[in-house]
Point group: C2
Chain length 564, copies 2
């Protein structure tokens, strides 16, 4: 026999940060599934025991202690199967490692420590962890297996290459890699190339689920040496993916301790040949479908994991609130979503009809609360100080804040999370009101540019019959905070604006859209720079681009840097 | 002659992040002062050219290019004097260093690169910088001088020790070290001991000024080998501190290149003996006086550097808003501060009198805006949905949000920054309303516990005659959002609460105040944990404790970890 067969189960699970008890249960549930599926080994994502990213919880002794105890508890149940699970490990000196426990025979056989700690983008791992050292390989039958964690597989001369070079025929990577549009496929194609280059099998197991601003997309798979994908778990849902892998054996003289690697023996139970079943085909998500699912999972998990079951939002009859309502309905059930139409003297019949028909189309709850009387009263209360001064954005903000206050009252009274409907284009240039339309517990579209809002609404509309009235797509974007107002009176057209935002924010170009738009560019950049203070007080939202506002892009509020 | 005399000027300056042009001007101004004072060398703080912390501005090519150009420009003016100034340096490979330029003879003589990069607490330097390597010493006359940056002096076997061991007689450290209560003295006493232990002179030059949530306190000094402080620049203000230091000469055989250090020759201009003048005594600030000055500088700089000259705040007649008004008046001038009294049916005569008399005592502007009619109207608008439901915190939040909306209208209309008056105790347990009393551009007391609010008000009161009416101190803390409400109805007494917050938040004890308070402890910890979402949307405020909410303490909002 020239290969050793590994029946490998990958548990793409959705855990909750800090819910160690709940996470243990979930992990043991999947260990059970894997056993019933006849797996030799089951693999869980990075830091699955405590959730990712735990941030400063890692500075708590009780949190680390509880995480270690969880590993012992899972270990005690790891009999007749090998379990690989991510957890934060503290050594006797007090150093903390991002680690993978290798459990079998009812105990911990070994612990692998992550060597490459990402400290860029949304990651701060050097704040917490000490990097691991050395190279470890695991004997399984006559084959060698390497285990590593997330970034370890991306580092050019990192553990992935070391383990492959030392005879590892199957490399197991456990990850907690957050989503952005297209990343599921990007990752897969990169690892496919790596597997082909080193001539090894790679098992890539990623976390799934929403955590604050991040969505982990899952998309776990096994890649083979011939640039082939053996199996794929799909994105945005939990899944146990079982794959039979024929790992090439390594000649016994190569399985010795001559080089500087550590070798650890895993229990090997030769079994009868098992089913030749192949995991069923999973439909891949592309373009708007993928993003839509990411947003749905993001809303669902933020809401559920923070103890809410219902949501409320303002329906303006525009595209942003219509799309937000649709995603919320898909995430939480239409009966759990409350849309509020809050007209003023500046509201049009078209937008009212849009709001009413959107709510009806989605089957969500609908209510009307006019802000007209409140707006009038505020103006008269403030009149003695404003006397003689012209109307300006103050009065526009006032209307937005009345709406925010009404929505928060409903949120507070009924325990429904308020969803803010601001999109990335508005958030970028500050075309939104702090404590007004920015108010909310969560802002699902925070990282979705306006042009993509349209694509997502079209996608939703074609997916299951027309839901949105055509007026939603046709009405020119407007905040309806004064007569005849159009967004494009003060902003460039959205297809131009979104391009600039992408270049300046996401691509970090310092002078986007050279040449012809120079005056507009100057204005847009100034708006983006100036509005950092607003973004800092906005609710969290789901990252779906390679560079979102928030942890990805850390700028001082007090910042006089102007390059143009 | 057994010593080489260095007339050293330390420029404790207040720069603005990103304002490279303005910072160059400020630096050159101080180079001029130093020249007129006959200094041989003038030293500026860490990253003085671009301000600290520049955060992701460091990912901008134009920002790095402009910073390098700034160093050239300052270099060209460094004639007849040696200038040491902090800047971000990029090498040809694209690595970025936290560096100190050594300028003389009209050019850059050398660049020192920081070796120890803090990546804890409020610091993220490993996100940006690559650590420097090797040891450098500078020949000055027959003495050797070492230069290092901030953390380099604290690392146990770091550059400070290396440079001292290799004959450095004067070690120059440039820092950007943020303030917390008592830190000025702490730092001084630690460096004093280090100087004594190594038998060297240490020049410690720190930045001064506010930057978002941080205040840099300055407090620059020169420590001598006998544990002696030769000179001290004082805290919270700009200052050029000039000190004559007799640095012991190093025998020529020890000034060679035998060991692995680099040696760089600085221009030495032997001059006549100069004045024996000693820098004048500077009064040291202690306790509440120190904190009060930190807060004043923090408000002044946040306001000024973000383009505001006036502030508005709600005056409730309580201690928090009274103190905030006082600090704002001291920071911006009483004529630039607007206090607004916004009574409702729940407001008492005592609090009204407190508000009126506080405003009068401080000489700030005062206005009254009743929220009563607005509150009534909101209740009637919401009535059709709330019908039959009992009053709860919804109605309390509503009042707070009406006040927030009125204050924001005044802020928007007149371009005055709104100061939120929430203190650390309230912020910790969420005893404050999002978009209500939490609304504002800046929250000066965000990191000041309630008990310290009283001490600071007492301090302000005794400093310049009674200003606050006694009622401000006597009235039991209350939000006045319902009849007969007292904070202590739902919270433990503040002296107990503040102790718990200190232990749980600042000291990271997982089980504060053991034993007798266990039920209360459980409740308080749950409140602190649960309210992360509120804090995340609050305005920035000044860090004055060793561990403030914000960048110091990074916790997920979605977090089910409960240790108790």
């Amino acid at each position: 026999m020239r290969t050793t067969r590994v029946r490998l189960a990958q548990a793409q699970i959705n855990v909750t940060v800090g819910d160690i008890k709940g996470n243990i249960e979930r992990i043991l549930e999947y260990v059970g599934y894997a056993q019933r599926a006849g797996a030799d080994m089951v693999v869980f994502p990075e830091l699955a025991v405590c959730g990712y990213p735990p941030e400063d919880l890692l500075f708590r002794e009780d949190f680390l202690r509880d995480s270690s105890r969880a590993v012992k508890e899972i270990g005690a149940r790891s009999v007749g199967i090998i379990v690989v699970v991510g957890f934060p490990e503290r050594d006797r000196k007090g150093n903390i490692y991002n680690a993978a426990a290798v459990l079998a025979k009812g105990k911990t056989l070994d612990v692998y420590r992550k060597k490459h700690l990402p400290n860029y983008g949304v990651f701060d791992e050097k704040r917490y962890f000490v990097p691991g050292e050395g190279t470890t390989l695991y004997h399984y039958g006559k084959a060698l297996i390497g285990i590593n964690i997330c970034e370890d597989i991306w580092a050019p001369d990192g553990p992935f290459v070391e383990q492959s070079n030392k005879g590892g025929g199957l490399i197991i990577n456990i990850s907690a890699s957050p989503y952005h549009a297209g990343k599921t496929l990007e990752r897969e194609s990169l690892i496919r190339k790596k597997a082909a280059k080193e001539g090894v099998y790679v098992s890539y197991t990623n976390l799934v689920g929403g955590q604050d601003e991040l969505v982990f997309d899952g998309g776990s798979f096994v890649a083979g040496p011939g640039s082939r994908i053996l199996s794929y778990a799909g994105a945005f849902r939990e899944r146990l993916l079982v794959t039979e892998i024929e790992v090439p054996n390594v000649p016994s003289e190569k399985r010795t301790n001559k080089d500087k690697a550590r070798y650890v023996e895993l229990p090997f139970l030769p079994r009868d040949a098992r089913s030749k079943e192949r995991p069923g085909k999973v439909k891949r998500l592309l373009g708007p479908a993928e993003i839509y699912e990411a947003l749905t999972l993001g809303i669902r998990d933020y809401t559920r994991k923070n103890g809410f079951s219902q949501a409320v939002l303002g329906l303006s009859g525009g595209i942003d609130s219509s799309l937000t309502a649709a995603i919320a309905a898909d995430a939480l059930g239409a009966e759990n979503v409350y849309g509020v139409w809050m007209p003023s003297r500046y509201s049009s019949e078209v937008t009212e009809e849009n709001a009413v028909r959107t709510a009806a189309g989605l089957g969500i709850n609908f209510m009307t609360l006019s802000i007209e009387a409140l707006y009038g009263l505020y103006l008269s209360v403030l009149d003695k100080y404003f006397l003689g001064l012209k109307m300006d954005t103050t009065e526009e903000n006032l209307q937005a804040r009345i709406r925010g206050t009404l929505l928060m009252a409903i949120s507070n009274k009924f325990g429904r999370i308020l969803l803010s409907t601001s999109n990335k284009s508005e958030t970028a240039v500050g075309y939104c009101t702090l404590y007004g339309d920015m108010a909310g517990g969560f802002a699902p579209l925070k990282d979705v540019p306006k042009t993509m809002v349209y694509s997502l609404a079209e996608y939703r509309d074609t997916r299951s019959g027309k839901i949105f009235p055509r007026g939603v797509f046709k009405v020119a974007p407007t905040a309806e905070l004064k007569h005849g107002q159009k967004d494009e009176d003060t902003l460039p057209a959205y297809h131009i604006l979104d391009k600039m935002i992408k270049e300046y924010v996401e691509c970090r170009k310092t002078r986007p859209g050279k040449g012809e738009f120079s005056e507009t560019v100057r204005k847009v950049i100034a708006m983006i720079d100036r509005n950092e203070y607003k973004r800092r007080q906005g609710p969290p939202g789901i990252k779906i681009t390679p560079l979102a506002f928030g942890r990805d892009r850390r700028l001082p509020i007090t910042n006089r840097y102007r390059s143009l």
